[in-house]
């Protein structure tokens, strides 16, 4: 709303400028513009303000006076746009704060700490490309020194992925009680996911159970990016074998159990495709190159290895993380 004192201020600046035509009055006008914008004074109000100020300063020729009708009419459209942008800005702020709440909620779905077992180190790095992540991982306590580990990638990013993730989390939580084998776990999850998500979405997952006494890892895969097994005795990395349909694709998918025994200093690396699809300038990193970078981290503790690889890949991609990134490192000591 244009107030009387503001109107007088405008007349003064205009009068001073007309007599001196100095840069300082123009500077004053610019500052006034900022102030007007902060008060949401619309372009058509400014047009009218100017017309009225002219009337106060002298005899205004009729054609000038009339011409303001055209200017006002045009400015009304700009005014509408200005008001519309303001309403967008408010909505944007509202969405930002909703996303911040969703982000905090999502964080609470992920484990706040890793389980501790003798002769085993566990390291985790999980970073969202944007605010909300489509990657999920969890550790599930089991009996007799065993624990379950799940790592999953939900197609797409953002809100839809986050909503799907909470469903996967609750399903794993309730199925976890039953201490199913990895193949049965994926079989049940597949049915639950298939029934509850949009047909265009699916979830890839590796579910495994680690026996900390025998150092035996039994796992099954559902269309998930294969991880790596590092054999310390050979100094070599192997792909984690296993296949099976991603969760939510077909209702009766079957999954096979794979079994690995870890010797001292052997390392298991579980990951999502954000790790393997890391982009180095124009091309995607090949698995051989990834192994090359992993090799340099061998000998470090599990967490240090996970951190080290993340930092290397981040540098390679010039700090531009395209996809959600999750890596879990299990190292027998």
């Amino acid at each position: 709303m244009v107030t009387r004192s503001f109107r007088e201020e405008y007349v003064k600046i205009l009068r001073d400028y007309l007599s001196a035509q100095g840069e300082d009055q123009l500077y004053g006008a610019q500052q006034l513009g900022k102030w007007m914008l902060s008060r949401d004074i619309s372009p058509e109000e400014i047009t009218d303000l100017h017309a009225q100020a002219l009337e106060q300063l002298g005899e205004v020729p009729e054609f000038v006076r009339s011409s303001f009708s055209i200017l006002t009419e045009v400015m009304i459209e700009y005014g509408n746009e200005h008001r519309s942008v303001n309403s967008w800005r408010n909505r944007h702020q509202q969405m930002e704060s909703e996303i911040a709440v969703a982000k905090a909620m999502q964080q609470s779905l992920l484990p706040s700490e890793v389980p501790v077992y003798p002769e085993l180190e566990i390291g985790v790095v999980s970073i969202a490309a944007k605010q909300i992540s489509g990657d999920y991982y969890d550790f599930i306590e089991q009996t007799e020194g065993r624990f379950g580990v799940a790592i999953a990638d939900i197609t797409g990013k953002g809100m839809p992925a986050a909503m799907c993730m909470s469903m996967v989390k609750y399903a794993i939580d309730s199925l976890g009680q039953m201490e199913l084998g990895p193949d049965e776990m994926l079989h049940h999850l597949n049915r639950i996911v298939g029934r509850n998500i949009d047909p265009s979405m699916f979830v890839t997952m590796l579910f495994g159970s680690y026996d900390s006494k025998e150092h035996c890892f039994r796992y099954a895969m559902a269309g998930h990016e294969p991880g790596f097994l590092y054999r310390s005795a050979e100094g070599k990395f192997y792909d984690l074998e296993g296949r099976g349909n991603a969760l939510g694709l077909c209702p009766n998918s079957e999954y096979a159990v794979q079994e690995i025994h870890l010797e001292i200093n052997d390392v298991l690396i579980l990951l999502t495709d954000g790790v393997t699809e890391c982009k180095n300038n124009r091309y995607y990193l090949q698995r051989e190159e990834l192994v090359h970078h992993l090799q340099k981290e061998v000998g470090n503790s599990a967490q240090k290895m996970a951190n080290g690889l993340y930092n290397r890949l981040l540098l390679l991609s010039q700090f531009d993380l395209l996809d959600d990134y999750t890596m879990i490192v299990l190292r027998r000591t």
């Binding site: 058509e44 109000e45 009218d48 017309a51 303001f68 009708s69 006002t72 009419e73 009304i76 459209e77 509408n80 008001r83 519309s84 309403s87 967008w88």
Partner: protein, 137 residues
């Protein structure tokens, strides 16, 4: 001023020139009631948008401009009526992002903001009625 002395005017909207007539009637009446120049233009623009919606989407309809009075304050009420296809989703039609795309209900968010009161009724296949009021400042 006694508003009751002035009777409402209805303009049939059938061709583009009728939009201009409706604007003119609205502008004259708002001048007569002492609305400021910006308000006059906002009323004319609102009439324009409502009449254009009729012309573009319903083909034909009416714009009625009536003086109103409430607790001593004078206002202008504009009623747009048509028997067109109706608006499937009114909330969407009043959404800035939707209407600026030039789809059905163009300009409605702008009208809603420029006026003091805004009312809309729309039934699919039966038509749309928009009632807006601008009170004198």
């Amino acid at each position: 001023m006694v508003v009751a002395d002035y009777s409402p005017e209805t303009i049939n909207i059938e061709q583009e020139s009728d939009i201009v007539t409706a604007r003119q009637v609205g502008r004259n009446m708002s001048k007569l009631f002492g609305f400021g120049t910006i308000t006059q233009s906002r009323i004319a623009t609102s009439i324009s948008e409502l009449a254009r919606n009729i012309y573009l989407y319903a083909g034909t309809g009416t714009i009625t401009i009536s003086p109103v009075e409430r607790e001593g304050v004078i206002g202008l009420q504009i009623t747009a009526n048509d028997s067109g296809p109706g608006i499937p989703d009114i909330r969407q039609a009043l959404d800035d992002g939707y209407s600026t795309s030039g789809a059905l209900g163009a300009g409605l968010p702008g009208v809603k903001r420029m006026m003091d009161e805004f009312e809309i009724h729309s039934t699919l296949g039966e038509g749309t009625r928009v009632i807006v009021v601008k009170w004198s400042d």
